[in-house]
C-alpha cells in the first residue's frame, strides 16, 4: 500500500486514541484531528459523538458557542485536540507569539479555548505535523496553556499524547514529561532526538516500536466518506488531501 501520507498516519494514530470514548470535540484549525474523530466515529458504529466546531450540518450544541466550554466543564467531553506554534517538554503550549509578546518576532492567532479546555478535558491530544526544534522547544515563549499544574489547582484534564509528523509521544503525568511512544515508518529514533528541542524519556523496552500503519480499510474510509465529511468544514484541506469535490 504505497502513497500513505503523513497526515493519514496521524489521522489513524489519533483515531486509535479515541477508541471506546463517548464524546470528542474538535476545535478551530484542526482538520487532522477532525478527520481522526470522524474516522473513529465510523469505526465505533456511530457510538462516538463528534462535535466539530464550525460545522453547520449535524450540530451537537444548541445553546451557543459557550456550550462547548460548559459541556467540557461538566465532564461530558472525553477528548479534545490542541496544537501550538511551540510545544515544550512539559507539554506547555504557545499559540500566541515568539519573543517578547509586547513586541513579538512573530505573532500567531491566539490561544482560542486552550487556556480552559486543557484543564478540563481528560484526554487532550496534542498534534503538530512539523516536528522540528523550532516547534518542539525546551521552553515556550508564551504559555497559552500549561501542561501541568500545582496539585491544588482544579484540573481534571490535561495532555495525553503528542502526535507529530515523525512520531508519537505519550505524556507521563507523574513525571510531567513526554515519553517516546512510537516512531512512524521511515523515521528513526536518532532523527527524533535531533529534531526535538526538548528532552524526553525513552520507552521501557529496548526497541522503540514503529507506529501502526493504517490498514487498507482505514485508508479507504479516510479518503472516502471521512474526506467528504471533513470537506464541509475544511474545504482547502480536503482538496489538498483528497482532491477536488
Amino acid at each position: 500500500m504505497s502513497g500513505i501520507r503523513t497526515e493519514e498516519i496521524m489521522i489513524a494514530t489519533i483515531a486509535r486514541m479515541l477508541s471506546g470514548l463517548s464524546h470528542v470535540a474538535v476545535g478551530a484549525a484542526s482538520p487532522v484531528p477532525g478527520s481522526a474523530a470522524l474516522l473513529a466515529r465510523r469505526l465505533s458504529g456511530g457510538a462516538l459523538r463528534v462535535s466539530l466546531l464550525g460545522r453547520v450540518s449535524n450540530p451537537t450544541f444548541t445553546d451557543g458557542a459557550r456550550e462547548l466550554f460548559d459541556c467540557a466543564a461538566q465532564g461530558r467531553i472525553d477528548a479534545f485536540f490542541l496544537s501550538g506554534v511551540q510545544i515544550d517538554g512539559q507539554a506547555n503550549i504557545n499559540l500566541v507569539s515568539i519573543g517578547d509578546p509586547d513586541k513579538p518576532k512573530a505573532r500567531f492567532p491566539g490561544s482560542f479555548g486552550s487556556a480552559y479546555l486543557y484543564f478540563l478535558v481528560p484526554r487532550v491530544i496534542l498534534f503538530r505535523q512539523d516536528h522540528s526544534p523550532r516547534a518542539l522547544v525546551p521552553k515556550v515563549d508564551y504559555v497559552s496553556a500549561p501542561g501541568v499544574s500545582e496539585p491544588n489547582v482544579y484540573r481534571p484534564g490535561g495532555p495525553y499524547a503528542l502526535v507529530t509528523g515523525r512520531c508519537v509521544f505519550d505524556f507521563d503525568k507523574d513525571a510531567g514529561r513526554f515519553r517516546l511512544g512510537s516512531v512512524h515508518s521511515g523515521h528513526t529514533v536518532e532523527e527524533i532526538e535531533k529534531e526535538t528541542g526538548f528532552d524526553f524519556e525513552m520507552p521501557d523496552g529496548a526497541v522503540v516500536p514503529e507506529t501502526e500503519m493504517p490498514s487498507r480499510e482505514w485508508i479507504d474510509l479516510i479518503r472516502g466518506p471521512v474526506g467528504e465529511e471533513i470537506r464541509e468544514t475544511y474545504p482547502d484541506f480536503a482538496s489538498r488531501m483528497f482532491g477536488k469535490a
Binding site: 478551530a28 499559540l95 505573532r107 492567532p109 486552550s114 496553556a145 482544579y154
Partner: protein, 273 residues
C-alpha cells in the same frame, strides 16, 4: 423601540468612534456590510471585542486604522492563513492587544447579561494570559479549601453588531442556533443588526421561530442588507466565499495591497451601487 433603518450605512452611524464594539466570529453571521461602512466613514479608536474570535471583520477595521484596542481569543483567516493586518499591527505596536480565551469572553458577557459585577472561571491558572491581565483577579472558591479560581469582571459592550437571516418590524431578530448573538445582545447597551430580509408579522407569534429569536427589547436598530455577511456566510443561506478570502489574504500581505483591496472592495463596491 427598535429603529428600523434603511441601510448598513445608517447602522454604522449608530456606532460612535471610540465605542467598545462586540462582533461575532466569522461563522456566526457578521455584518460585513456595516464593517465596510465603518471603514468608509473612517471610524476611529474603536475597541473591538471578539466573541470569541476574529477574522476578516477585524482585519478590515485594523488595516484601515479604525482600531485602538482588540480583546479576543484569536484572529485568523482560517484555512486562508494568518491575519496579515492584525499581525502587522501587533508587531508595529499600532494596537493595544488583550489576549484572552474563548470561555473568558463568554463568561464576562454572561456576567453583563446577568447584571453581575463578575463571573468565576476555571482554567487559566499558570497561563501567560492570566499573568498579563491586570483587570482579572485570582481568588478563592468560597466553598473550597485552598482552591484558587479566577474572577473576571463583566464586559458590557457599547454596541453589539451582527448580521442575521431575518427580523420583523417590532425589532425581533431570528438567529436560530447562533445563540452567542443573543448573549451579545443581552450583554450590550445597544444591539445593531443587519438582516437579509425584514419580514411581515411578529416572529414571536410563531412558537418555532420564537425559540430562536432575540426580542426587540434588546435591539436598538435594524436595517436590511442583502448578502450583508459577504464574503462570510450565513448558515443555510450562503457560504463563506473562500476564493475571495484567499484573494484578500494574498493582497493584504502588504499595507499597499490591503489599501488596494479596500479601494476595490470597500470603497469601490459602494461607488458601484
Amino acid at each position: 423601540m427598535t429603529e428600523i433603518l434603511s441601510s448598513a450605512e445608517e447602522i454604522a452611524a449608530r456606532i460612535p468612534d471610540g465605542a467598545l464594539l462586540a462582533l461575532p466570529p466569522e461563522y456566526a453571521p457578521c455584518s460585513m456590510e456595516t464593517i465596510r461602512a465603518l471603514v468608509r466613514r473612517g471610524a476611529k479608536e474603536l475597541r473591538l471585542l471578539g466573541v470569541p474570535q476574529f477574522g476578516i471583520q477585524a482585519e478590515l477595521l485594523i488595516g484601515s486604522g479604525c482600531v485602538a484596542e482588540v480583546e479576543t481569543a484569536a484572529v485568523t483567516l482560517g484555512e486562508q492563513g494568518l491575519a496579515p493586518r492584525f499581525t502587522d499591527a501587533i508587531k508595529q505596536q499600532k494596537i493595544r492587544m488583550r489576549d484572552t480565551t474563548c470561555p473568558a469572553i463568554h463568561a464576562a458577557l454572561q456576567a453583563s447579561e446577568k447584571g453581575l459585577p463578575f463571573m468565576p472561571l476555571r482554567g487559566l491558572i499558570g497561563t501567560d494570559i492570566l499573568a498579563r491581565r491586570d483587570d482579572w483577579r485570582l481568588g478563592e472558591n468560597p466553598f473550597g479549601e485552598d482552591d484558587p479560581i479566577v474572577y473576571l469582571p463583566a464586559i458590557r459592550p457599547d454596541v453589539a453588531l451582527f448580521h442575521a437571516p431575518k427580523a420583523d418590524r417590532n425589532g425581533n431578530v431570528w438567529i436560530g442556533l447562533r445563540r452567542e448573538l443573543m448573549m451579545m445582545a443581552h450583554a450590550s447597551a445597544n444591539a445593531c443588526v443587519t438582516v437579509e430580509e425584514i419580514v411581515d408579522g411578529d416572529l414571536l407569534d410563531d412558537p418555532q421561530l420564537a425559540a430562536g429569536t432575540i426580542p426587540g427589547l434588546y435591539v436598538s436598530a435594524i436595517a436590511p442588507a442583502e448578502r450583508g455577511a459577504w464574503p462570510l456566510g450565513v448558515p443555510h443561506l450562503y457560504e463563506r466565499d473562500n476564493a475571495h478570502l484567499a484573494r484578500y489574504a494574498e493582497m493584504a500581505k502588504s499595507q499597499q495591497g490591503f489599501d488596494a483591496y479596500v479601494d476595490q472592495w470597500v470603497n469601490g463596491r459602494a461607488a458601484a451601487e
